[in-house]
């Protein structure tokens, strides 16, 4: 007998949604660290380091996330590193998020007015102090709306981890579809859950952006 889509399936979808959230958080934390590193390397005084970071960004932005995920999932075991789907997905997404956030945050760092950099130097702060006590706190303010917006991209793109047998929301939907043969109901339910995860962040991002634009206009 073929079961019909019911409460038990919604429960299963919600469990999948929890894994989607977990992977999103892992990807954001890993990718955030990676992005910070890349952004700092990208404005390093050493030309070679700058170029290296630029190449990383170019390369990763030219490759689909799905291919990165397959490379992580199948490739790491092939070179003798056993990985679970969650770990493989986290590593691949860290690489991917790092490139996009790195490029974006570089822009935010460079958008901090030049006078701030010079003033910090005049106060005899070390490079490290100047970066983390003066520049980064101001850059964070510039970068927040866009970063929140990018979180939506991260949540949506964790759906691709379903292709490497990570049982997230999308994979849960596929499994339910395979047993109930009710793709329309199932995937609409999946889409609604994704929408409920993503839409508040989209709205927040837009609101932050508008507030910042107002702040700029006042200043």
């Amino acid at each position: 007998m073929v079961p019909t889509f019911g409460f038990i399936h919604i429960q299963f979808l919600l469990e999948g949604a929890i894994w989607t959230v977990i992977l999103s958080v892992c990807a954001f934390l890993g990718g955030g660290l990676m992005g910070l590193l890349i952004a700092l390397l990208r404005i390093s005084p050493i030309p070679f380091v700058r170029r290296l970071a630029a190449w990383y960004i170019e390369l990763v932005q030219g490759i689909p996330l799905l291919v990165l995920l397959f490379t992580g999932y199948f490739g790491l075991p092939a070179i003798g590193v056993p990985v679970s789907p969650l770990l493989a997905a986290t590593i691949s997404m860290t690489v991917w998020v790092g490139a996009y956030l790195g490029e974006f945050w570089r822009g935010s760092l460079e958008a901090v007015p030049k006078a701030q950099w010079e003033a910090a130097e005049c106060l005899a702060l070390t490079r490290w102090q100047r970066m983390f006590k003066v520049i980064v706190p101001q850059a964070v303010r510039n970068a927040t709306p866009g970063t929140v917006g990018f979180m939506v991209q991260i949540i949506k793109n964790t759906s691709l981890a379903s292709a490497v047998s990570f049982v997230d929301l999308t994979r849960a939907g596929q499994l339910i579809n395979n047993s109930t043969f009710q793709p329309f109901v199932t995937f609409v339910a999946v889409a609604i859950i994704y929408f409920l995860l993503c839409f508040p962040l989209s709205v927040l991002s837009r609101r932050l952006e508008r507030r910042m634009a107002r702040g700029m206009a006042k200043a």
Partner: protein, 227 residues
């Protein structure tokens, strides 16, 4: 453990990779053109005087932008077949890519339309141009010119997103790579090769968009700045 990379089983199947790359490119070009049309209509629709039209366009954009492409394509692919429409995977892929990129383009073009100075709209109205004429003769080109960089990166993202259509068995680059890694047992090498191929495709696409920008927007070519 010693790691040895052996690319020969992948390179042996180069015609398959080439076919895949061609399908990827054709899908991307077709979806870029149709997505641009849908997106521009949608952006104009959001400025419509009719509340219902602008509401529909807004709902479309928000629904697409806040759900994953993979779920959209599953919904269309499996959903349409239960409704009795049996479309080939590649048709569904084109349809889903168009719907998806249409929403993003719509948002970008709306920003472009908003950036056109109010005086231009008013001047067009004073000259007695209809809404359609205003869009076509006055607003469209400056708007597209201003958002052209965002548009071209969105279309490159679209090319990368077309890899997702492999999940409904479209024989594009990633789909063919999945097959090759299955028969050659060389997954790492396979995905490294197609990773490089995608990178090359994205570089080529960026150059093509630069060229299109040069031809379509002479002001950018002559002065080096947009309007």
């Amino acid at each position: 453990m010693e790691v040895s990379l052996d690319f020969s089983p992948i390179f042996e199947r180069w015609p398959m990779l080439l076919d895949g790359a061609i399908v990827t490119l054709l899908l991307s070009v077709a979806a870029t053109v149709s997505g641009f049309l849908i997106g521009t209509l949608c952006a104009a629709g959001r400025n419509s005087r009719f509340r219902i039209v602008s509401a529909i366009c807004a709902i479309y954009v928000e629904a697409i932008r806040n759900t994953p492409f993979l779920v959209q394509i599953f919904l269309i692919f499996f959903g349409l077949s239960t409704l009795g429409f049996t479309l080939s995977a590649i048709t569904v892929a084109l349809l889903a890519l168009t719907i998806n990129v249409g929403a993003y383009t719509g948002e970008i073009m709306r920003a472009g339309f908003d950036s056109v100075h109010a005086g231009q709209w008013e001047a067009a109205e004073c000259l007695g141009l209809s809404r359609l004429q205003t869009y076509w003769h006055v607003v469209l080109f400056p708007a597209a010119e201003r958002v052209f960089p965002s548009l071209s990166s969105q279309f490159i993202l679209l090319m990368l997103a077309s890899s997702i259509t492999s999940q409904i068995s479209v024989p594009e680059l990633t789909g063919n790579a999945n097959y090759i890694q299955g028969v050659s047992f060389r997954p790492l090498e396979t995905y490294l090769v197609i990773g490089v191929m995608y990178f090359i495709l994205s570089v080529i696409m960026r150059q093509i968009f630069n060229l299109i920008g040069m031809v379509a927007f002479p002001r950018r070519r002559r002065l080096g700045t947009p309007l």
